[in-house]
């Protein structure tokens, strides 16, 4: 039994490493999708978010999400304390395994910590190219400290959604829709990038500066998702983990096809950025149901997510005039909701569409309103948007006194934009 415990624990740790890579994936995806003048800024935010996220989750988030007692208040709001170091260790592996435990407390913390930081990262792409650095970091800290853990506790920490048998395997709602709706709130408060919506009613295309970075980001996210979904089995159980690998991969693949088809129908071209987002949509879509559907259902879930992506992106971008440079609201928000509902449609087991709908709406509404509140307060206090002149010259020079791609060679000269 010691061996069983060890292999289960090892998988959680390997999965942790894979989820960590998702932060690189997000960093590259977002860097690729922003303009050249804002690249340092987005990289800076990504490097800080994983760091702040882990520390905050250690100091506050973890205990809030997995409250150790279950009194009334704790059940709703959890409580506030750092991760209890003495809970990390398992005394007797064989006994623990016998008792159904699959990993140490340290493993649990670090695996969950990577998730928490992921959720904050989702917001950073949507608000790119115009948000002030420090206010954003404050928001991210509060988000990981309170909003994410409270939502997580509802579904995974023994809260009311868990009691209702709401099913969200690895977090279509609890992570992705939460991040997506928080992003939506932030974008609404922030407004579109300067020049995005013209006075003639048209929408200006603002192409990302590097498709190789964006593509790399998506491949790395898929790579990391094997840990995100596979690790959410919370053991190395062969059937469960391998099933999740298959459903996750098939959904991602089908997401690419769905986006390929729909974007061709809409735009009459083969749009790489849509196919990349389609893969992510498929991954987000399968995340809630990855362990309770067949391969065929996984393909369908992913394919539909892929179809949704171009429609949703265009709807936000052109019709609702909500400016989200990386499509986080569509990928994580809309596909997160779809994935949660898909459990109610395709899930093999005792799942209720109504509960799924209720759960995802509750999560979305809470993430949205609480983010709106926090971001709104920050906006009132110190402002959240860079000045117009800083936006024109770019946040790299404005916030970081730096270019992403230096033009200086041997002291010859250095270019400034405007």
């Amino acid at each position: 039994m010691e061996a069983v415990f060890t292999v289960n624990n090892l998988w959680i740790l390997v999965a942790t490493v894979l989820v960590f890579v998702m932060h690189l994936g997000f960093a590259m995806l977002e860097a690729g999708f922003v303009q050249r003048k804002n690249v340092v800024n987005i990289l800076f935010k990504n490097a800080m978010i994983i760091s702040i996220g882990l520390l905050t989750y250690y100091l506050v988030g973890f205990q809030l999400m997995y409250p150790s007692d279950d009194g009334l208040i704790a059940n709703i709001l959890g409580y506030f304390a750092p991760f209890d170091w003495s809970n990390g260790i398992v005394d007797n592996y064989a006994a623990a395994a016998e008792a159904g435990s699959a990993y140490t407390g340290y493993s649990e913390f670090i695996f969950q910590g990577m998730f928490a930081a992921t959720c904050a990262t989702i917001v950073s792409g949507a608000v790119a190219e115009r948000i002030k650095l420090v206010p954003f970091l404050v928001f991210a800290t509060l988000f990981v400290a309170f909003i994410y853990p409270i939502i997580g506790m509802w579904g995974w920490g023994g809260g009311w959604l868990a009691d209702l048998k709401f099913k969200d395997f690895a977090g279509s709602s609890l992570v992705h829709a939460a991040g997506g709706f928080a992003a939506l709130a932030a974008v609404l408060l922030l407004g579109p990038r300067r020049g995005k919506y013209r006075s003639d009613g048209g929408t200006t295309a603002m192409p990302g500066h590097s498709m190789p970075l964006a593509a790399m980001g998506v491949f790395l996210l898929w790579f990391g998702w094997f840990g995100f979904n596979g690790g959410s089995v919370l053991s190395a159980d062969p059937n469960a983990v391998s099933l999740v690998f298959v459903t996750t991969s098939l959904a991602a693949a089908a997401g690419a096809i769905g986006a390929f088809v729909m974007s061709y129908m809409l735009f009459k071209t083969y749009d790489l950025s849509m196919v990349l987002n389609g893969i992510l949509g498929g991954l987000v879509g399968i995340t809630a149901a990855a362990d309770v559907v067949s391969g065929n259902a996984a393909i369908l879930i992913g394919f539909i997510a892929g179809l949704i992506i171009p429609l949703s992106i265009v709807a936000f971008d052109k019709y609702l005039k909500i400016d989200d440079p990386v499509g986080a609201t569509s990928v994580h928000g809309v596909c997160g909701v779809w994935g949660t509902l898909a459990v109610g449609i395709f899930g093999q087991g005792d799942f209720s569409f109504g509960t799924q709908l209720l759960g995802t709406l509750a999560v979305g509404a809470f993430a949205f309103t609480s983010s709106l509140a926090i971001m709104g307060i920050i906006k009132v206090l110190v402002g959240i948007r860079v000045s117009e002149s800083e936006e024109i010259k770019g946040l790299d020079v404005g916030e970081h006194d730096m270019h992403a791609y230096s033009l200086k060679e041997d002291g010859v000269f250095q270019l400034t934009v405007e």
């Binding site: 024109i392 270019l415 934009v417």
Partner: protein
């Protein structure tokens, strides 16, 4: 014929282009240049070393036109390109001996 060379701000380019189109000047050649003048570049920092980016990105607009259009074009660029801040740029007018259209060898005014 004249060649008008205008050094302008990147951010005024769209406005100038639209203004020129209104007086039917739709053909020109653009190049990316670096300007050094009264307006100074940003101060940058790299690993603790501070340095000036003395140069400022500018666009150079080259417009070939008949003599009688010069004044109109210059006026349009001044009004559409002005922000009033130091660094708005310069317009230069140079005399041209000859212009030929490569496509068909047409010369001078008919080549424009």
């Amino acid at each position: 014929m004249k060649k008008i060379e205008a050094i302008i701000r990147l951010s005024r380019f769209e406005a100038i282009r639209e203004a020129l189109a209104e007086i039917d000047v739709r053909f020109f050649t653009l190049s990316e240049v670096k300007g050094f003048g009264l307006q100074r570049g940003e101060t940058l920092t790299y690993r603790g070393s501070v340095y000036d980016a003395d140069y400022i990105a500018r666009l150079q607009l080259d417009i070939l036109c008949p003599n009688d259009k010069v004044k109109a074009i210059v006026d349009i660029i001044i009004s559409a390109g002005r922000t009033g801040n130091v660094g708005d740029g310069k317009i230069t007018v140079i005399d041209v001996d000859q212009v030929v259209r490569i496509r068909n060898g047409e010369a001078d005014e008919s080549a424009l």
